[in-house]
Amino acid sequence: MRTGMVEGPLDPRALLDEVAQHRNGATVLFVGTVREMNEGEAVSGLDYSAYAGMAESELASIAREAAARWATNDIVVEHRTGSLQLGEASVVIAVAHPHRGEAYEASRYIIEELKKRLPVWKREHYADGRAEWVANAEMENGKWKMDAEKV
């Protein structure tokens, strides 16, 4: 298992290779990319900033939770920081497991949890020159929509 916040371009192929083991029968690769439209706005690019130390530890916690729940250590997750262009990968999650059901579920868990918990922020730049901080849909008024008392 390995996780990291990365300043340069992500290489999904390298993550696939990293989780490859003969014991595994299924590998799920998730790649999140910068989309050209967000909530009706034409996006030209974005900047990710992070609470560096906490982002590293939170990403590692999420991967550890998935590793424990689905019983595989063949998990690698990388998240970008810095400036990204349209189409560039912002996050790559590789999960390998003996069976596909568990691989899909663990991959889904990791992306959904990091969207709620990873302390990184996105400033979108728009085609008309404006820029704004935007939050994930999982967030509402600065809080998780789920019960915040659980933390």
Partner: protein
């Protein structure tokens, strides 16, 4: 005691600083630190109950804060 509070993204923009140092009494809780930050000029732009981390872990409002703690107010996150 002096408590360091880290600010990020939209909250740092709102307060015009990425870090503030606050003089707080002993026995301070997370919610007391939040109330003090919100009393600063432009602090009203931070929501009433934002996410807070103490020493890089999400914390509850009733968690105690000591002088050596790193407190951070976490804006709505946008990873992925």
């Amino acid at each position: 005691m002096t408590v360091r509070v880290l600010l990020f993204a939209s909250y740092a923009d709102a307060l015009g600083a990425s870090e503030v140092a606050l003089e707080m009494p002993a026995g301070t809780l997370v919610r007391d630190v939040l109330a003090r930050v919100k009393s600063l000029a432009a602090g009203k732009r931070i929501p009433d109950r934002p996410l807070v981390a103490v020493n890089q872990r999400y914390a509850r409002e009733d968690q105690a804060v000591t002088a050596s703690d790193e407190v951070a107010i976490i804006p709505p996150v946008a990873g992925g």
